[in-house]
């Protein structure tokens, strides 16, 4: 392998490392590994080095204090998260037992004596903790996820923010409590009436009949609290499980119907076999095709029953699922508040850069459990990076409360880069007549013509520093609309040919604008930078739909005390 071939080979290994190698490049690389011992040597050297570089203690000498401090915080936050777990996610009794074990193991691991366990309200002996963490640093992530926290802490740390696990394939006259859109996530859904066909990622399909309350739990399972469903489970999805309040039903590659009400569950097997297991595990039965079983609350038995229930096993009328409609857009898909952020930091979805504090004097919003806002002092910023998020549809709404403390000429709030082709920036600027504007700027790179263009700026004049403002920006396929304190301000057409490629939360920065991006080159003289943000942001939310004017007005007015 000559020098040039070696360079190309190493460059391709970078792609491999990120799982980004083009499919057409794989055979060539495979051929090199197959036939060339040199290539195998370089491969092993490269991968070993990458493994050492990604070893958490590799940089300990370089960034020792920062690393230890961050880990210390991670551990303490992990413990805090543990104490704020959503008990509804899993069986309560089981969760309490595991949580107790997990806390004990965490305390042991951190070297605390049993007489002084980690307590959310007590201060931590940071010196001892730090020295223990320093020693045990390399394994913290792996162990915290698997062993130390009672083997299964990860069960609790399921993503706070939903991951897509199923698709809504068809609906017939479906009325949802909150319209779900096409992609379905590991969260509860309520179908008030009508029918919905849901396909899970692992291949199982259900026809859900309203009224029904269901929680999609995984790519191969759900919890049916109330309602009726028919499940069709291909071989690939064997093991598909429907949990109910009284019994669990595990499918062995078949078709079955299930109806659940407040007092009982009834299940009929149409084809194949289904395992029925009582919640307390006291009884289990394998039910063959043609039979039905009935389980009643408080009765620890599985009863035979001749089913009188009519099930709908096929949807005759096909209705293409549309993106969610504005009327149903009640809750944000994604929200960054103080409480949520603690959990997101532990999941590495949010990274605070610099000294970061919370403003206890956040806007007094009556619907919030906390009133703490993210506080910026000009030398810190926050990166949000939800890599797994994709664009669900072409309509979404950003909503946030912001306050700027400084009287400087420019003050950046938020910077979103879309696949390096477009920048969206929210900032404050004061003109030479001393008028202060809140501005939203959209810049994009025109690849065909090879230059950058600045598009419409929304402007809200005479903003008063120190006041909280409610800002909403609504994106549709054609335009972006800007609202301030519930009032429409301005709108702009989205440049022809531009399509939003990444979810707004896929790469978002608060309090800072990146160097060398479109916004920098267009808005500032060469070599200058936007000054850091001095102020606060709260309740940054993304709705995956187009909020209408009256809803935005309502959102603003209902938020205030």
């Amino acid at each position: 392998m000559n020098e040039k071939q070696r360079d190309v080979f190493i460059e391709q290994l970078q792609f491999v490392l990120d799982n980004q190698l083009d499919v057409q490049d794989i055979p060539k690389l495979q051929q090199q590994l197959e036939n060339d011992p040199d290539a195998r040597d370089i491969y092993v050297e490269f991968m070993t080095m990458s493994s050492l570089l990604s070893d958490p203690d590799q940089f300990q000498n370089v960034h020792d204090n920062q690393q230890t401090g961050n880990l210390l915080r991670e551990i303490v936050e992990a413990d805090q998260i543990l104490s704020h777990l959503n008990q509804a996610q899993i069986n309560k009794l089981q969760s309490e037992k595991i949580e107790k074990q997990a806390k004990e193991k965490l305390n042991e691991f951190l070297g605390n004596q049993k007489t002084e366990p980690i307590d959310n309200n007590s201060s931590v002996n940071s010196d001892r903790l730090e020295s223990n963490i320093r020693l045990k640093l390399p394994m913290i992530k792996v162990l915290a996820a698997s062993i130390i926290l009672g083997i299964c802490l990860w069960l609790f740390l399921q993503p706070q923010f939903p991951s897509q696990i199923a698709l809504l394939r068809k609906t017939v006259n479906a009325q949802w409590e909150t319209s779900p859109g096409k992609r379905l996530y590991n969260q509860p859904y309520q179908l008030n009436s009508g029918l919905a066909e849901i396909e899970f990622n692992d291949g199982a399909k259900i026809i859900l009949e309203g009224p029904a309350e269901i929680t999609l739990e995984s790519a191969n399972g759900a919890y049916l609290k109330k309602g009726k469903l028919v499940a069709y489970v291909p071989d690939a999805a064997r093991g598909f499980t429907v949990n109910t309040p009284f019994a669990n039903f595990v499918d062995y590659g078949t078709e079955f119907g299930l109806v659940v009400d407040d007092a009982s569950s009834e299940m009929s097997v149409f084809e194949g076999e289904v395992k029925v297991e009582l919640q307390d595990k006291s009884s289990t039965q394998i039910v063959p095709a043609g039979e039905s079983k009935h389980v009643v609350a408080g009765d620890h038995q599985i009863h035979d029953v001749i089913s009188q229930t009519d099930y709908i096993r096929h949807l005759s009328e096909e209705v293409v699922v549309k993106p969610m409609e504005a009327n149903f857009c009640k809750e944000p898909h994604w929200r960054l508040s103080f409480n949520d952020m603690q959990k997101m930091k532990a999941e590495h979805k949010v990274k605070a850069v610099g000294d970061f504090n919370f403003d206890p004097q956040g806007p007094a919003l009556k619907h919030l459990p906390d009133n703490q806002a993210m506080m910026f002092k000009g030398d810190n910023h926050l990166n949000v990076n939800l890599q797994e998020q994709e664009i669900d549809n072409e309509e979404f709404t950003l909503s946030m409360w912001i306050k700027c403390n400084s009287k400087i000429n420019q003050c950046i709030y938020m910077h979103h880069i879309d696949n390096f082709e477009a920048d969206q920036v929210l900032y404050i600027e004061r003109d030479k007549n001393n008028h202060t504007y809140l501005k939203y700027l959209f810049c994009m790179e025109n690849k065909q013509e090879g230059h950058r263009t600045k598009h419409k700026i929304f402007r809200a004049k005479d903003y008063v520093p120190g006041q909280w403002m409610h800002v909403v920006i609504v994106f549709t396929k054609e335009k972006a609309v800007f609202y301030l304190n519930g009032q429409y301000i301005d709108q702009a057409l989205i440049p022809a040919g531009y399509q939003i490629k990444e979810h707004p939360a896929s790469y978002l920065t608060f309090g800072y604008a990146m160097n060398m991006t479109n916004i920098q080159s267009l808005e500032l003289k060469s070599g200058k930078q936007f000054p850091g943000f001095n102020g606060s942001i709260d309740e940054f939310s993304i709705y995956q739909c187009e909020l209408k004017g009256d809803q935005i007005q309502q959102l603003y007015s209902q938020s205030l005390w």
């Binding site: 970078q14 011992p37 092993v44 070993t48 370089v62 880069i417 390096f420």
Partner: protein, 183 residues
């Protein structure tokens, strides 16, 4: 559960943690080399740690923890190959894969020396290159995100990273040779 049982269980857990920590760098290096992407390697590492614990608590004390852990990891990796058909390794012959596995184990025997050499080589990088490496690996970021963070094009960062990795590999080789000569 009696007090002595609890104590014995605690000792068992502590011994496992100690063993795992002592060998985790080696285990991870093996997994990454055989899996070839960082994200799947992390998943398999976690999965392997769980399986190891399940087996460890049922077993007598393990004499050669490192070899035992690599064997468990290897089985999980084989299972992973059957699920993911589009992998780099899916088209390789058994001979080539075994050769890579053996070379990995040989390299892993020098892991401590390599670790020291790498640390020294990283410290020799200029500040910008060191920041690239730090952000990519220590923050667990892809090249694409690293490029975004530093305001660089993805293409140019791939080029820079290739140069940096090449230099690091060369530097490590030099250090290993001089360490071996010295000893």
């Amino acid at each position: 559960m009696t007090e002595s049982n609890t104590k014995s269980q605690d000792e068992h857990i502590n011994q496992f943690i100690t063993d795992l920590m002592n060998h985790q760098t080696r285990i991870r290096a093996y997994i990454l080399t055989m899996v070839s992407n960082l994200s799947d390697a992390d998943d398999i590492h976690q999965q392997a740690a769980q399986v190891m614990w399940q087996k460890y608590r049922e077993a007598q004390p393990i004499k050669h923890f490192g070899a035992w852990a690599i064997r468990i990891s290897h089985n999980i990796i084989l299972n992973y190959y059957t699920k993911k058909k589009e992998l780099l390794f899916s088209g390789l012959s058994k001979h080539a894969m075994e050769d890579i596995a053996n070379r990995t184990l040989q390299v892993n025997d020098q892991l401590e020396i390599r670790k020291q050499a790498l640390q020294s080589c990283v410290n020799k990088l200029d500040e910008q290159d060191r920041e690239f490496i730090y952000f990519r690996y220590n923050h667990g970021q892809t090249i694409k995100n690293t490029a975004k963070h530093f305001g660089r094009s993805v293409h140019s960062l791939y080029r820079s990273m290739t140069r940096i990795h090449k230099n690091l590999m060369k530097c490590i080789q030099g250090k290993i040779i001089s360490m071996e000569d010295a000893s």
